[in-house]
């Protein structure tokens, strides 16, 4: 079989979205961010809403999301993306507003904004990439770092007694009436990529329907921070991260699962 027999549209499972720029991704090889970016752009492109979409980038690895997403974006202070998105959604109610945040941004420094934005039921999408570590600053402990997991600020492993338990923020916000849709997905296999894309599509459709917050957690890897190669990190993620952060819908159409 020739390579050209393989490169056929019907065999294609993944390609770069038209709404991704040509800038070289600043993410480490094997990181899930690029896929999550691409899926978000694919959905916006397919829905034909680029003219009405405003994204909010966080502080963290995805601080430069606006370099890669070829849409209008504003970059928020650390943790404040939901507040920034709130104001945009309130003053431009016809727009599709989303935040793209990591675990430190959304579940540590920005917890108050996350909870209150969800509680007010702002008509936005929150895409939350959880890789259990602070990637950009060099692998420090995150609110979602697993028990016993090593990081540069928990060099002997996260000790629950002194450092608290990893925070299941998606379950927490799913309990708020303002949240219409809460789900936890992954992007490390074709199967998961497809499911995640469906979830993102559903979330943006919810904006159209003015349903309030759609909250999509994507459990991802951080092979640099975890000090593993990409293959190892994905295996480790399946075994350990998914055990604590189980994949699947948590709240659909306003109803807890």
């Amino acid at each position: 079989m020739d390579i050209l027999d393989i490169i056929k549209p019907e065999n294609q499972v993944f390609c770069k979205s038209r709404l991704m720029t040509d800038a070289t991704l600043s993410y480490c090889p094997g990181c899930g961010h690029g896929t999550a970016h691409n899926l978000t752009m694919e959905v916006i492109d397919e829905m034909g809403i680029v003219e009405d979409t405003i994204g909010v980038a966080p502080v963290g690895c995805s601080v430069l999301a606006y370099d890669f997403m070829n849409i209008d974006m504003t970059q928020a202070a650390h943790g404040r993306a939901p507040a920034v998105a709130t104001a945009i959604a309130r003053t431009w109610p016809e727009k599709y507003v989303f935040t793209y945040q990591g675990d430190g941004d959304l579940a540590a420094i920005g917890t108050a904004e996350t909870i209150h934005t969800c509680n007010r039921g702002e008509n936005i999408v929150i895409i939350f990439v959880n890789n259990g570590i602070y990637g950009m600053t060099g692998g420090q402990m995150a609110p979602t770092t697993l028990a016993g997991m090593r990081s540069s600020t928990s060099p002997y492993g996260r000790e629950i007694e002194t450092m608290g338990s990893p925070l299941k923020i998606t379950e927490l916000v799913a309990n708020l009436p303002g949240v219409y849709y809460a789900t936890r997905q992954a992007v490390h296999t074709h199967k998961h990529v497809r499911k995640t894309k469906k979830a993102i599509r559903k979330a943006f459709e919810n904006i159209r329907l003015k349903k309030g917050v759609s909250f999509i957690e994507i459990v991802s890897n951080c092979n640099s921070g975890w000090k593993m190669n990409p293959v190892e990190s994905n295996a480790w993620m399946e075994e350990n991260m998914f055990a604590y952060f189980p994949l699947g819908d948590i709240k659909v159409n306003g109803k807890l699962k």
Binding site: A57, I71, T74, Q75, R80, A87, T91, H116
Partner: protein, 374 residues
Amino acid sequence: MSELKLMKGNEALAEAAIRAGVDAYFGYPITPQSEVIEYLMSQRPEKRTGMVVLQAESELAAINMVYGAASTGKKAMTSSSSPGISLKLEGISYLAGAELPAVIVNVVRGGPGLGTIQPSQADYFQSVKGGGHGDYKLYVLAPSSVQEMADFVEDAFDIAFKYRAPVLILSDGLIGQMMEKVTLKDQKERMSNEELIKKYGNWAVTGKKDRERNIITSLDLQSEKMEARVHRLLKKYQQMEKEDLRFEKIHCEDAEYLIVAYGSSARISQKAVELARAKGIKVGLLRPITLFPFPKQQLLDLAAQVKGILSVELNAGQMVEDVQLAVQHKVPVLHFGRTGGIIHTPEEILEALEQKIIKNGHTRHHKTRESSLL
């Protein structure tokens, strides 16, 4: 129709914001400025003009909401009082860095810490010397009447959009809480989205349509780019100094002594000037209306005319440093002011002028600030 009313400073500011066609206000309650959001809420602004008014979960959220709305070209503002402004400083630095137009109001109370809810001008340094991190300045307007609380809202937005920069209205508990006659301007229509896109579409994030994408950020990981950004900001500040300095001179023509005071202190000092003149002492008052830009040249010119200058502020001595810098030690410049929420009386100011400047002024050119305190 313009309208004459008796209003508190805080209420006049809120009403003026609605009438100026402001798109959004985000705030968090704190004394002595809570009347701003209370008044706005009472007016159903969403019905009057479609203005968004939202009580945020914190000062941090409120200023970042302002950042969000401002990044789309909307006229957005917030107000708070001293401890709340401290919390907002990160967001204010981001607004400056990302070159966004916005208006922040500080109805100052005494500090540091939780301090007191009574009037103060102890946030001068915070307001004009940056406050937040990085190389930036705020255009600072200091109202000294209820009328100016109302008028400065629109003035502040004009400057904010002229320069794409945050503007601070630095008031205090006295001006915020007092009532005076105020003439309110006619209702201005809010800018439509179409008009906004036409006017600010070259930078605002409104959705990528018929153009390249717009990005609002204060991040430049390449040092050369960051330095270029800082230089761009500096240019704005230089232009503000050239084109948008504001001040008021009262009885300065024949003055032998000068009081420099802004905001509430300027009002009280004006009475002190009247008392002094009744006694035959020729005192003038220079009131900086903008604290940045600061009337440096005007002070230097007056230094050639007067024998001494008293900087009157409701703080332990802050603006006095800028007055000293401006007059280049050509005449003695001393500070007088009460702190802790105590308001100096006109009589106290006159006494301070007589004791510190008129009696000692000729001989002691280099007093320390400490010794100039009460």
